[in-house]
């Protein structure tokens, strides 16, 4: 295997605007516009999200029990996250307490999601930049190129373990992409001992694969001076922001349940809130050049695309979580967390890690945690119990929050007494990061493009500034929903009237 290609030769451009369209290796749509000034330096850059689907409009009028299945379709990369946040919102709407078994099954299912999602991102989306190099030819810079470089055997391991993650979701959740098992107060399906044993075996293998991935990251990235140069490049990939993520009562990372903690640029806790309190903490700003909104910390305020204590911009996802937590409940993830902490400390960093590319390291630690937690849950024989459904009350209003692979995910529904949705608001993982992502792109563009000199590799390094967030613009562009009052005539194919339906 030849070494990765880090740099290529720039050529001079006289254009005043550089367009990268579409930006690639992310989930969803996006384009970057970079404006140059007369000297050929970057005046500004915009990461535009060109799409919107409008779930928040067409989910109005739907039966709330359908929302876990409908909101799945916000995102086919992390449908499980929406399914979990939605089901938890239903717990709150129906004032229903999920049984212990149901909670364990949901979390086990969810660890399958993390395993799939983090493997997919690291190997298929991020690894091309590291294994082949940011300036490798663009037709090689993809997962197939990675397979060619590292060998089919490793490729097969990657494929196998990502599919184990999918399989666990399918067994517990009914389907891998777009699961259907979530009900207020529980889950729809009991699992058998045979299924449990099968998941335990898969989880064991995934834990080993998690170790392998950490080693690969050390060998390929951390041991490579050129990469470390990129990672530590404070001009291009460094933002001092607030961070947000979910923690348990000991401030250990939890993906499924807990309070949401926000820390500042020094790592001090700013606020810790319960799902039902999210509106006290977050507001969303709108810009006219993009379809995606930009959440910010309400108490700090919106001051545009800058970092620092006076800007309400915060970051979520692996980097956000690693900066708000005080460690992990599982041994291997905890050990690697300490390794990261030590490395960072040796570099003289105190407090949170503000290096944007450290997202990747945080992500593999989380992969390890997810696999270990998956094994804990799959080894628990009590999960085959038939106690999977709790009491349900009359529907009202409620909020459900979980940590999606890409960050804090909020679903908030209100229902009438018939269970029809009257109001819905969602703040999804990537949306939380959007303002920071745009700030990172501006920063990287300014640092990397000088005197009008550009090259495909340089532009890809600008893309690396967003790619490490693993942005999921599918998720972020959900906003649209249903007619509040609709009367329709249902006709047979031949046009004869069958019935008149009303949803009011």
């Amino acid at each position: 295997m030849s070494g990765p290609i880090i740099n290529d030769t720039p050529t001079k451009t006289t254009e005043k605007k550089i367009t990268i369209d579409p930006i690639t290796r992310l989930e969803g749509h996006g384009k970057i516009e970079i404006f140059l000034n007369d000297e050929g330096n970057v005046a500004n850059a915009y990461l535009q999200v060109p799409e919107l689907r409008g779930f928040e409009r067409f989910c109005i009028g739907r039966h709330v029990q359908e929302l876990p299945v409908l909101t799945n379709r916000l995102c086919g990369v992390c449908p499980a996250a929406h399914h979990i946040a939605s089901t938890k919102a239903l717990d709150a709407v129906f004032d229903a307490k999920p049984t212990e078994t149901a909670k364990k099954l949901r979390e086990l299912f969810y660890m399958g999601q993390y395993t799939h999602s983090h493997i997919a991102h690291f190997y298929a989306l991020a690894a091309p930049d590291f294994v082949l190099g940011p300036s490798a030819p663009s037709n090689k810079r993809n997962v197939l190129g990675v397979v060619d470089a590292v060998g089919v055997d490793i490729g097969a391991e990657v494929i196998k373990h990502r599919s184990y993650g999918q399989k666990v979701q399918e067994i517990v959740g009914g389907r891998a992409t777009h699961p259907c098992f979530g009900l207020p107060g529980g889950v729809s399906k009991q699992i058998s001992e045979e299924e449990r044993a099968q998941m335990e075996e898969m989880a064991k293998s995934c834990v080993e694969f998690g170790k392998f991935t950490i080693k690969l990251l050390h060998d390929v990235v951390l041991a490579n001076q050129d990469y470390m140069g990129l990672v530590l490049n404070q001009d291009a990939y460094y933002l001092e922001t607030y961070y947000m993520g979910m923690v348990d009562s000991d401030n250990k990372t939890n993906f499924y349940d807990g309070d949401i903690r926000v820390v500042d640029q020094e790592g001090k806790e700013v606020v810790k809130y319960k799902p039902s309190e999210y509106l006290d903490v977050i507001a969303e700003h709108v810009e006219p050049w993009t379809y995606m909104k930009m959440p910010f910390l309400k108490q700090v305020g919106w001051t545009g695309f800058t970092a620092g204590p006076s800007s309400g911009i915060y970051r979520v996802g692996p980097l956000g979580r690693i900066n708000v937590c005080e460690g992990y409940t599982t041994p291997l993830a905890q050990a690697e967390y300490e390794a990261l902490a030590k490395t960072v400390k040796d570099l003289g960093v105190t407090g949170p890690v503000h290096h944007t590319l450290a997202f990747h390291w945080a992500r593999v630690i989380e992969l390890q945690y997810a696999t270990e937690r998956m094994l804990e849950l799959a080894s628990d024989k009590s999960i085959t119990s038939d106690d999977i459904r709790g009491e349900v009350n009359e529907p009202t209003e409620g909020v459900g929050i979980c940590e999606a692979p890409r960050g804090t995910l909020i679903h908030h529904y209100a229902s009438d007494k018939d269970g029809l949705c009257t109001k819905i608001n969602m703040i999804v993982a990537t949306t939380n990061n959007y303002a920071a992502i745009n700030t990172s792109v501006i920063q990287a563009a300014k640092a990397l493009i000088k005197n009008g000199e550009v090259s495909p590799g340089l532009l890809n390094k600008v893309e690396m500034a967003f790619r490490c967030y693993d942005p999921c613009n599918s998720c972020g562009t959900h906003a649209l929903n249903g007619s509040p009052a609709l009367e329709v005539n249902v006709r047979r194919a031949d046009g004869s009237k069958l019935d008149t339906l009303r949803n009011f």
């Binding site: 990268i20 690639t24 290796r25 989930e27 516009e33 404006f35 535009q48 060109p50 799409e51 409008g54 409009r57 067409f58 989910c59 009028g61 739907r62 039966h63 029990q65 359908e66 409908l70 379709r73 086919g76 298929a124 037709n139 810079r141 993809n142 997962v143 097969a156 494929i159 389907r175 992409t177 259907c180 098992f181 009900l183 107060g185 729809s188 399906k189 977050i282 507001a283 969303e284 700003h285 709108v286 810009e287 006219p288 050049w289 909104k293 908030h412 018939d418 608001n425 703040i427 599918s474 929903n481 249903g482 007619s483 609709l486 005539n489 249902v490 047979r492 194919a493 069958l498 949803n503």
Partner: protein, 338 residues
């Protein structure tokens, strides 16, 4: 070795699940790698649209287009790919029928913007700023695709050769399509007839192994899934849970009923019918003994039962609204009103 065929996969207004579905064929990816070069697949590959636009017509062997047509960019890329591809496949229910984003066709752009950029609880937008298709910023001009008033299916904007329904299409279905293309390329085998739906022609009930009441089926009361503990062996419809399996195309292996949840119809309607919800309502009417001359339920009782389906749109049209006959009715109603 012969030249590799060229394939493209693009997402319109979709969720990325169709792209993940292609990853889910697992080891088969390596088969695909052996015969095909990916020229465009934004989720995982670095090809840019300008490179595709520069290619000769029909030089891409197959394009898989997933997601619905929600805005002008979705439509533009669909047209470019159509021109550059020998075969164009509508991949997944969004491309085939509009899918879940198609539920937006009960509303319009204005209402969507009002909700998203104004009314939602966390939105802080006192001046009601909304995204603009053309915008002057201090450094120059920016543009955005135009958000349409309604969602269109792929075949409303370009000529489509094959349809692969499912949300997302199942691994079996994809394997079938990959094999068909591979055989065509390597052995010169015929492709299916144009316009074919690459899926089974049966109904979901045909492949569901739950026990059904064979004679005298009758629903007394309609339940929501959360209201009862459904018997995992018996037909859900027989238990009063609306499952739209009778009107839905087989092919998924009845995944939702296997998880003790009702089918919501992501495979779309069966071959024979165009309107998914209409077809389900006919099935339901026979279950309610509406079409039976010896009906034991009065008209009033039937209406009462029907009214228990609180959200008919979300129940019967969760994936197919843009393709349904309803669409026209809804639009007509709007026009009359306004």
């Amino acid at each position: 070795m012969a030249d590799k065929i060229k394939i493209a996969q693009y997402w319109g207004a979709g969720c990325g699940g169709c792209d993940v579905a292609l990853l889910d064929i697992d080891a088969k990816i390596l088969d695909v790698h052996a015969i095909a070069e990916v020229v465009f697949w934004p989720i995982g590959f670095d090809g840019k649209l300008s490179e595709i636009e520069a290619m000769p017509d029909k030089s891409i062997t197959v394009s898989f287009y997933n997601g619905a047509i929600r805005n002008s960019e979705n439509e533009h890329v669909a047209k470019v790919l159509r021109e550059k591809s020998a075969v164009m496949i509508a991949f997944g229910s969004c491309a085939c029928f509009g899918g879940t984003p198609g539920l937006a066709n009960v509303t319009n752009k204005k209402e969507v913007f009002q909700t998203v950029y104004k009314d939602t609880a966390s939105t802080d937008n006192p001046d009601f700023v909304t995204p603009q298709t053309q915008l002057k910023v201090p450094e120059g001009e920016l543009d955005l695709p135009e958000f349409y008033d309604s969602v269109k299916t792929l075949d409303e904007v370009v000529d489509v050769d094959y349809f692969m329904p499912g949300c997302p299409p199942t691994v079996n279905l994809i394997a079938l399509a990959v094999d068909a293309v591979a055989k065509h390329v390597t052995e010169g085998a015929d492709l299916p007839p144009k316009g074919a739906v690459i899926a089974s022609d049966k109904t979901l009930c045909d492949e569901c192994d739950r026990e059904r009441v064979e004679t005298g089926r009758r629903i007394e009361k309609i339940y929501q899934s959360y209201e009862i503990k459904a018997d995992p062996k018996k037909c859900l419809l027989d238990q009063g849970i609306i499952c739209i399996g009778p009107a839905t195309r087989a092919g998924c292996g009845s995944m939702c009923p296997k998880a003790n949840m009702p089918c919501r119809g992501c495979m779309g309607p069966t071959k024979a019918v165009m309107d998914h919800g209409g077809s389900m309502l006919s099935a339901l009417s026979s279950l309610l003994n509406i079409t039976d001359s010896e009906s034991k339920l009065s008209e009033e009782q039937i209406m009462e039962l029907m009214m228990q389906v609180k959200d008919p749109l979300g129940t019967f049209y969760a994936f197919t609204l843009p393709k349904s006959l309803l669409k026209r009715t809804v639009t007509e109603k709007r026009k009359r009103k306004g």
